[in-house]
Structures are given as structure tokens and as C-alpha cells.
Symmetry: C2
Subunit: 309 residues, 2 copies
């Protein structure tokens, strides 16, 4: 497995602006490790990764993920006092922006004259949250946003973050909500130019993306608290798959969710048993992440205590 | 070819809210056909189409397209007096919003107190354009925005628009800037559930999407002026491919563009010869679409005159 992983990275296109990312990352971690005896830091991954089919990329395979789970979870982690490194797919839902309409500039604002802009009262709360709460979280050093698009960018940045968080130890967490591609076209076997159409069906062979979860747990950040996700469309195989992932990757818990009910409920699968977490249906403005993050934060507290004993 | 096209539509998942789309479309066309002796109406398509790999879609193939071409062209068409039906991929660049930063709610605004929002002076012009110009275009009936994501949605809506525009005749135009999938998985041969990973490489066979361009020209809107696009990554084959498309689909012009230079120049290929259109490099705020649409509008005027003779 280790040589599969190193050959994946060796054959990946190098990540642009890596130094700048590392500098921002170290500054963010230093700020939060020294303040108030050291804050807990969580890396939340969000959105889907793309798999280019051509080096000069015109077509790619994508994983459906709106980013709502990652955005809502980030808001709850910041509320619980965490500093969040938000590793997100460009263009997906942002923390504090979930209640904005799809077309915000068409629907939320009005200019009363050439310079004075107003917010429609019906969207005032949504815009205030998107502007004030988000800016406060970033300004207070509670939120660092790092965008990705391809599977190559995602895995190179995940490794970078894991190694940068190494010294934070048990107070660091990985909350891996991103929809990571299982299959890809190795960069070196990829055609350079746009695949030509017009000559009948197209056969594509995709290799398996090496599972980085085990190396994240064993090498990159062995002391971090680690939560992974398992999404299935078929509820009959969901729990079996989530339990298998728990054992195989030795994560602390797997959040199992089914595509069609994922906004209403999830199941937290761990060695201490399975816990069903639901949205509070009697509160229309509540989200399943409100209860989910409460549970995850408690488990993290127990983990930190046990690792200090 | 005709039965390939009908079997494509018969096996496609039905388009949701079709009646509502048709109602808005007919209202928009009626408003613009009766006003001032009838306005020219252009359908601009923009962004890439997705090809689902599973019926309960988790993974899909996507075509890279930011939507900048379609958005910039729409602004220029409205300026030239056209009414624009903007058929766009959800989440891509919107008309009048091109100069907004990637993260507008984090970067453009500030609340001076609980209700009064201000725009940072550095972004005032960009926000004013995104709010005022866009709202004016929609309010004046010059812009109708219709979103799509999948290849099924795109082609069903393109057919709907073409048939709705039939009576507008030579005053209607199709400006097909969208990056439409060449390959797809026929819905009926698609697996229902998420493709399982963990068992070695994945082989996918993709069928060719029937080319709708010829049926758009022959049946759906035979009198409309029709512009298609050809994007290549290899400049050596671009012109040959564009010329071939011109003859094969009998469109009025093909806009040929190469991926790495597409923002600087395009070549308009037509039976009257090839014209290179460039961005005015001495004007930093100019775009290649400013000159491109001027040329296309002229050609459309000639086409209208000739069809009335």
C-alpha cells in the first residue's frame, strides 16, 4: 500500500502555491495552539473531488456533494470553540452562507441610489450571517478556508495539513466529510489533449485511488481524533460498509448516511456501538449537524482525557 | 439519426417543472415579439453538462466550462438590444457578475451596524453591476435565466426553447456556447445504486450522445440563425474540426477557440471565410466577446435581410 501511495503522489501534477498555503496554515495553527492554553483544531473536508480525464482538462469525473454537511458542521465546531481548517471544493456551499438564495445578487439586494445598497428584509438575516458571522470567524482566527478541485489537490493538501497538525496531537481532529473519488486516471497514463468524439463509444479504464485514510491514521497524524463518512444510496448495505470501514481504517467513528435521508438522520458507528442522530423535527430551523457535532465534540473530549492518562 | 434522437429522449428521466418553464418561456417570447415591432431573441447556452454514472447519482462526468463566455456574450447581446434566454449550468458564472471576487460575501460587504450594510469601495462597481444591471435586464424583460445540470435536462430544455421560438423565425438566434457532453451512459443501462469501490479497476463504456445540432437546424428551429462553438486543446486540429462542423451541421458560423488562448482570441468560421476576433489588448477592461458579438449581430442583420428578400 505504501508504494501505491508514494507513486500516486510522485505522478501527481504539483500543487500550485504550496508555500503560501503552508505559511497560512502554520500561522493559523500557531495562533490557535498558543492562545488560551491551546484551542482544539479540526480539519473539516467538504465537497466532491474531480478526476481529470485529460491532462489539458476538458472532461472530468466528479462526485456529487453540495458541501452543506461540511458548512453546517464548521459553523457548529466554531460555536463549540474549535478553530476550523475548512478544506473545501471550489464553488460549493460556504459556512454561514447556507440560507442565501441560489442567485443572491439578483434576489437579496437593491440600490436606493448610486451608492447606497439595501438588503431585502426577507433576506436580511441570511445576508447578515453570511457577512458578519463569517467575517468574525475569519477575523478571530477561528476559520481558515483552503479551496481544492481535483483529487490531486485534495490529497496533497490533506497530507500537508495532517503533517502541520502533528504537534497538536490529541487536540486535533479530522472530520472527513468530502466525497473523495474512489477511481481515477493516473496522470502519466492520461491523454494530453481533449478526447476526440465522433468515432463510436468510449471505453475508460479507471484505477483505484489508494485509500489515504490508513496512512493518515498511521503516519501523517497518528494522534489526531479521526471521523470518516460513509455515504450509500442503498440503506441495506450502509451499516455493513460503515462497520467494515471502522475496522479497516481504525478511525474513531464513521458517520453513516444514506443519500435520500442524509439531511434528517445519520448513524455514528464506533467501537462503543451505533448511535442514531436526528434533526429536531419540531424545530424547523434545526439541522442534523447541530446534534451530530455535539456528540462528536463529547467523544473528542473523552479521547483527549484518555490520551492524557 | 432520428431514431437515435428519439430513443435518447424516450429513455431520459423526465424534466421536472416543465410546465412552469414553458409558461415563463412563452410569456417572455410573447413580451418580446410584440414589443417595438418584435425584438431579436437569442438563446445563449452556457457552462458544461453533466453525465450521471448512477441513477441515484453520486458520480458523474462533467465538462469544464466556467460560463464566462456565455455570461459576457449575454451582456453584449442585451446591450445590442436583444432579449436573451440564458440556458446555463447551475453554479457557473452569471451575466453582470463576472467581476465579483470568488468569495463575495467574505470580501465585498461590511455591516456598519445591525441593519446597515456597506460595500467596500474596491468592489462597489462590481456589486453595482451584479445587482443593478442584472435586475434591470430581468425587470425589462431582456433576460430570462433557465438553469440545468445534466445532459438530459439541457437537451430537453433546448428542444423546448427551440420549438417555442419557432414562430420568431429569422429574428431568433441560437448561440451554443455550452460545453455539451459527447459521451453518456444511457439511462436504462445505468446502475441504480452507487458503483461499489474496493474491487479493483473500474471499466466504463460510454455511448455517443446523438448530435442534436442537425435536428435543431432541420426540425426544431429551421429558420433561426445558428452559431455553434468548437473548443480544442490542440491548435493544430482546431480549424479542420471547426470547418468540418460548419459543413456537417449547416450552422451559419462556428466560433473556433483553443483552450489556452480562448480569452484573447477566437476565429469565426463561416462559408464567407474565417475572421480572427481579438480582445483589444490596449483596453484592460475589454473582453473578446465585445468584438465577437458585434460581428455576430452584424451577420444576423444580414441573415434577417436576406431571409425577407
Amino acid at each position: 500500500m505504501e508504494d501505491e501511495i508514494s507513486s500516486f503522489f510522485e505522478s501527481s501534477p504539483p500543487q500550485k502555491n504550496m508555500e503560501e498555503i503552508l505559511e497560512n496554515l502554520n500561522e493559523f495553527i500557531k495562533l490557535n495552539s498558543s492562545s488560551q492554553g491551546g484551542r482544539r483544531i479540526v480539519c473539516v473536508t467538504s465537497g466532491g473531488t474531480t478526476v481529470p480525464l485529460e491532462q489539458r482538462c476538458v472532461r472530468y469525473i466528479d462526485n456529487f456533494s453540495s458541501g452543506n454537511r461540511g458548512a453546517a458542521s464548521t459553523e457548529n465546531f466554531v460555536k463549540a470553540g474549535y478553530a476550523v481548517i475548512f478544506l473545501y471544493r471550489r464553488g460549493t456551499c460556504q459556512p454561514y452562507c447556507r440560507s442565501l438564495p441560489d442567485d443572491p445578487f439578483l434576489e437579496c439586494f437593491e440600490f436606493s441610489d448610486k451608492t447606497n445598497i439595501q438588503v431585502h428584509t426577507s433576506h436580511l438575516e441570511a445576508v447578515k450571517m453570511a457577512v458578519m458571522d463569517q467575517q468574525t470567524a475569519v477575523a478571530e482566527g477561528s476559520l481558515l478556508k483552503l479551496p481544492f478541485s481535483t483529487i490531486y489537490e485534495y490529497l496533497q493538501m490533506l497530507r500537508l495539513i495532517a503533517e502541520a497538525l502533528k504537534d497538536v496531537g490529541p487536540c486535533s481532529m479530522f472530520y472527513l466529510a468530502a466525497a473523495v473519488s474512489d477511481f481515477y486516471v493516473p496522470w502519466k497514463s492520461m491523454t494530453e489533449h481533449k478526447i476526440e468524439s465522433g468515432s463510436g463509444p468510449l471505453d475508460i479504464r479507471l484505477a483505484q485511488v489508494p485509500k489515504m485514510l490508513s496512512v493518515l491514521r498511521s503516519n501523517w497524524a497518528p494522534k489526531a481524533f479521526c471521523i470518516s463518512f460513509k455515504l450509500e444510496t442503498d440503506s441495506k448495505i450502509l451499516m455493513e460498509k460503515a462497520t467494515k470501514a471502522l475496522r479497516k481504517y481504525k478511525v474513531h467513528a464513521v458517520v453513516a448516511n444514506e443519500l435520500s435521508t442524509r439531511k434528517e438522520e445519520v448513524v455514528v458507528v464506533s467501537s462503543s456501538g451505533n448511535v442514531v442522530v436526528r434533526r429536531e423535527c419540531d424545530k424547523p430551523e434545526s439541522f442534523v449537524e447541530d446534534n451530530l457535532i455535539r456528540l462528536i465534540v463529547d467523544r473528542h473530549s473523552t479521547y483527549i482525557k484518555e490520551s492524557h492518562n
